[in-house]
């Protein structure tokens, strides 16, 4: 196929580079271009040297990670979530910029490499015309995307782009984000000026060479340039003025573009590279499976910036301040001194200030925990509930939760924590449970049942039920444990429990940062389980579920673990559970973080609710965007300050907005604990009942003609 007009030589249909340039001009251009590349390369060196001052990453997913990153990048699947217009605009900018960059590179490829070395030329004729058209379209995409971003930043001004920080007061010297604001706007303006001068340059060239048929005849292959050229002509610009304009624009466009490239490693533009590395290296289960630690080392956790894994140092530099984590964080939403975004930016600024120097500074300048400039404050770390809303939504793959836990490990090692958490950990050290109850009382809740539960230590069972601390000792949730026992018993399941041999599973102990105690608990439970014969493990507690399933394998405990919600769903589906009544109620379901976001268990509880006849109405924030009850990461043991709204209260108000809601369904002992309080403190206890999915199923199995618990859920008007 040829797009060339008959009688013209395809060889001549091209853009002559440096047309009419004198030797010194070409020479000057190469000096500037090489300087720009050198500045760029030096910047990359400084950055990579900085990242290499971290420790080596223990886990990364190799080639699979690289492929996942390519898919993330090409589909824009991460960045489109919860902000589709911004994601699309970014795609326009990304693909526009990438095509323009590749296109421009093909010129260099031929002119500076293939032609001088191998005599190969391809940049003319049909290829050139298609190239010209593609780049015009790419330029349009770029400008369109940038215009939307400017409009969004200035006029839509979503709160997540606001730089107000919850972890600092305005008096703090590092409160201000002024430099970021300047940088954000400079970035947008620089790119849009580069794109627009490109089109103007194209137009000026057309006007200048309008008498050359090998140029003018093909003007519509650069449609934007051609349209602008007609505009210039209409404004009275002739070939001579066009030539002068072209010369000015050529240098202007070229210099801005080269400065832009030179500054990539020094500015937020570097996210185009760091985000690729971050996404390639990110862990598959950053919050569900925390990194192990060397307990015999002198120190544990991250207290110095050089303790951070290189991967994390790359990641904090990939942050584009898009604010998705800032918006999703339950601690931030309820006024706690934590924003995942600002935490990441503090670490970034700290690493920028101290690790980009020629020599590594002294230890005191490396200490990242503290109250000084860009340091991370203890109260910020303790505000986290490890719900992973930030990790899950981050489009560049930043792993906030493991970083927070690593820093907490350092705090715990120094003994620095809330006294209430200390008491809980002390209880676990002494008694194996956070309630400080005697071990012998662990199975006391079973006494109220009218059938015995098998002792899995003494006889083989199909299903080993790992009960967990809250399900064993919390008086409210003991009723759920009893209900689950009745459900299993009625369904004829062969099950047993560990009785006194069970200890706290350790999920939250690990997330507090008490890794030594966690390992002790994991090893003790694994040893207890090794003595038993069973096919699989079930637990009603998503926290225990998570650590048994994802983290015990780190210590040699590999099991087939299921959460009660999916076991119940399966038994409903297969008809093992016989219902004698339906739940004719309007309900909503609160996704526990450890079941949903961390382990993808979104569907089973919903399906179970449908099968028992409930009318399920979703809250605005559901499934992956579920809003943590506030109890994760050891916060269940920390008293919340009375002046702040509790995350569970925020959540209960969201549920209460559902017209005619009767039951708030939970599927986690900690959620139960939080929401039983929140339903009262928000004044909703007359209207809404907090129930475990298991209790509802149990009620439907027992209910005769009577509606389940019609006695204690008052009718709504």
């Amino acid at each position: 196929m040829s797009l060339i007009v008959d009688g013209q030589s395809a060889e001549h249909v091209t853009r002559i580079l440096f047309q009419d340039f004198s030797g010194w001009m070409i020479f000057s251009f190469y000096v500037v271009a090489f300087t720009a590349i050198a500045v760029f390369a030096y910047g990359c060196y400084i950055q990579i040297r900085k990242y290499h001052r971290g420790t080596t990453s223990a886990t990364h997913s190799g080639l699979a990670g690289f492929r996942r990153m390519l898919a993330d990048m090409l589909t824009h699947r991460g960045i489109k979530r919860r902000d589709r217009p911004a994601g699309k605009a970014h795609a326009y900018i990304f693909f526009g910029f990438t095509l323009l960059f590749i296109g421009t590179s093909t010129i260099t490829l031929q002119y500076d490499i293939l032609h001088p070395l191998l005599g190969i030329r391809f940049w003319y004729g049909t290829f050139y015309l298609l190239f010209s058209l593609t780049l015009d379209i790419a330029g349009l995409w770029l400008i369109a995307g940038l215009l939307y971003m400017m409009y969004r930043r200035k006029w839509l001004a979503p709160p997540k782009l606001n730089y107000k920080r919850p972890d600092r007061s305005e008096a703090d010297p590092d409160y201000t984000r002024r430099d970021y604001r300047i940088e954000d706007w400079t970035f947008l303006w620089a790119l849009i000026i580069i794109a627009m001068t490109g089109f103007l340059l194209e137009a000026a060239r057309l006007v200048w060479l309008q008498t050359d048929p090998s140029v003018w005849d093909y003007r519509w292959w650069s449609p934007v340039g051609a349209a602008v050229a007609y505009g210039l002509k209409a404004a009275g610009v002739g070939p001579a003025a066009g030539a002068a304009l072209r010369m000015w624009l050529w240098w202007g466009h070229g210099l801005i573009a080269l400065v832009f490239i030179a500054l990539i490693p020094y500015t937020k533009v570097k996210h185009i590279l760091t985000a690729m590395v971050s996404l390639s290296l990110r862990d598959d289960k950053p919050a569900a499976r925390l990194p192990t630690a060397d307990l015999d080392a002198n120190r544990i956790g991250y207290s110095k910036i050089t303790d951070f894994s290189r991967r994390y140092l790359w990641q904090v530099d990939a942050c584009t301040k898009c604010g998705r984590c800032h918006e999703a964080c339950p601690a931030k939403a309820t006024g706690y001194p934590l924003s995942p975004r600002d935490l990441v930016l503090s670490i970034r600024e700290f690493s920028h200030t101290n690790l980009e120097r020629y020599a590594l500074p002294a230890d005191e300048d490396l200490t990242v925990l503290g109250r000084g400039l860009h340091q991370v404050r203890a109260e910020t770390l303790w505000a986290c509930r490890t719900c992973a809303a930030c990790v899950e939504i981050c489009p560049v793959g930043i792993e906030h939760v493991p970083m927070i836990v690593e820093m907490r490990r350092a705090l715990v090692d120094k003994g620095d924590m809330d006294p209430a958490v200390q008491t809980a950990l002390q209880n676990i050290q002494n008694k194996g449970n956070s309630f400080g109850e005697n071990k012998r009382k662990r199975a006391a809740w079973t006494k109220k049942l009218d059938f015995p539960i098998k002792d899995a230590r003494k006889e083989a069972v199909d299903v080993l039920w790992f009960v967990g601390d809250f399900a064993s000792f919390d008086p409210r949730y003991q009723k759920v444990s009893q209900a689950f026992a009745r459900v299993l018993h009625a369904a004829g399941v062969d099950f047993g429990i560990l009785y006194e041999a069970e200890m706290n599973a350790g999920n939250d102990v690990r997330r507090v940062g008490e890794e030594g105690l966690y390992e002790h608990l994991a090893e003790a439970n694994i040893a207890a389980l090794a003595e038993c014969e069973f096919k699989h493990i079930v637990t009603t507690d998503p926290h225990s579920y998570n650590t048994l399933k994802n983290e015990y394998p780190q210590f040699g405990g590999v099991y087939n673990v299921e959460h009660a919600s999916s076991m119940i769903q399966r038994m409903l589906e297969t008809g093992v559970i016989k219902l004698s009544g339906k739940l004719d109620r309007r309900v909503t379901f609160h996704d526990p973080c450890h079941l949903g976001r961390l382990n993808n268990g979104y569907d089973a509880p919903r399906d179970a609710l449908n099968r028992i006849g409930a009318e399920l109405v979703e809250m605005d924030r559901s499934r992956d965007n579920s809003f943590c009850c506030g109890a994760g990461g050891g916060r269940i043991w920390t008293p919340d300050p009375i002046e702040l709204q509790k995350p569970a209260e925020n959540r209960m108000q969201e549920a209460a907005a559902i017209e005619g809601l009767e039951v708030f369904v939970v599927s986690c002992p900690k959620c139960m604990n939080m929401f039983e309080d929140a339903v009262k403190s928000t004044g909703n206890e007359q209207k809404i009942a907090v129930r475990e999915l298991i209790e509802l199923v149990d009620a439907c199995m027992q209910a005769g003609t009577e509606q389940p618990f019609s006695h204690d859920v008052p009718e709504t008007a």
Binding site: V412, G415, D416, V421, Q422, N430, E514, G516, L517, D712
Partner: protein, 265 residues
């Protein structure tokens, strides 16, 4: 200067427990041992001083008790400090606070300590005497129930605050060397991580016997004690009933009880 901190592994009772056959103590089967709560605070006082004056102050935990008492020393050393001292042999069984104070005084002399800190009391026997007995034996100045301590290792006295009845605070200057017993709430004790406790096993513990401290068998145990436990027993308790059920059921039951007590039923 050396600060000696007397610590005790106290016995905590289970909810259901029994009295030992001789009727003089709780049955050890029902006891759990843990570090006395007050000692967390007094050890924290010493640690903070040692951290504030790293080259001038050494904090040393000392305990009198059988081998299991080492757990208390390890917990302290997990938080800081380089070594611990335990005093024991069989002859110490049945010692009262006077004997323990005597032993602590002997350790203080041996270590040439400038200050001895102890908890105001131990949560199991609650004598609140050991520290003061040690002071008497040493002939040093002493203050009990201290809620704040300011110390300059170069100075010859320390400044101390105590909380009195009715919200009054008292400030005192005390001549060094001195013995003080520390009240709860004087600071926020740090946490001893399990990793720290394991690592503290590498820190040296010195075990001393009474004879090494120059005390004869007549001066220790029951023989050397001025007091002796005659009997330990559980007094009869009043009865309480937890009323359960719906508010209506609870109210009915409450009304019944009131009637019962008034003799109306």
């Amino acid at each position: 200067m050396k600060i000696l901190v007397a610590i005790k592994l106290v016995a905590a009772l289970d909810e259901d427990f029994e009295i030992r056959e001789d009727g003089c103590d709780a049955d050890p089967d029902y006891l759990d041992y843990q570090l006395n709560e007050w000692d967390d605070y007094s050890w924290e006082v010493a640690l903070q001083l040692a951290e504030k004056f790293p080259d001038k102050i050494e904090a040393i935990p000392v305990t009198v008790g059988p081998e299991r008492a080492e757990a208390g020393l390890r917990k302290c050393l997990a938080k800081g400090g380089e070594r611990g001292i335990r005093v024991w042999d069989e002859s110490l069984e049945g010692s009262d606070p006077m004997v323990i104070g005597h032993l602590l005084a002997a350790v203080a002399k041996r270590e040439q300590a400038t200050m001895v800190l102890a908890g105001t009391l131990a949560s199991d026997h609650a004598y609140a005497q050991t520290g003061m007995c040690a002071a008497a034996e040493l002939g040093w100045a002493h203050i009990a129930v201290v809620s704040r301590l300011d110390l300059d290792p170069e100075a010859s006295e320390a400044n101390v605050r105590r909380e009195l009845e009715g919200g009054i605070e008292e400030e005192l200057a005390i001549q060094l060397p001195a013995v003080m017993t520390i009240q709860l709430g004087i600071n926020e004790p740090r946490y001893a991580s399990l990793r720290g406790i394991k690592q503290a096993k590498a820190k040296p513990l010195e075990t001393l016997t009474p004879s090494e401290l120059g005390l004869s068998p007549q001066e220790v145990g029951e023989a050397g004690s001025l007091s002796q436990v005659r009997r330990m027993y559980i007094p009869e308790k009043g009865q309480a009933e937890l009323i359960e059920g719906t508010p209506a059921e609870q109210a009915t039951r409450l009304a019944e009880i009131i009637k019962e007590l008034r003799g109306d039923a």
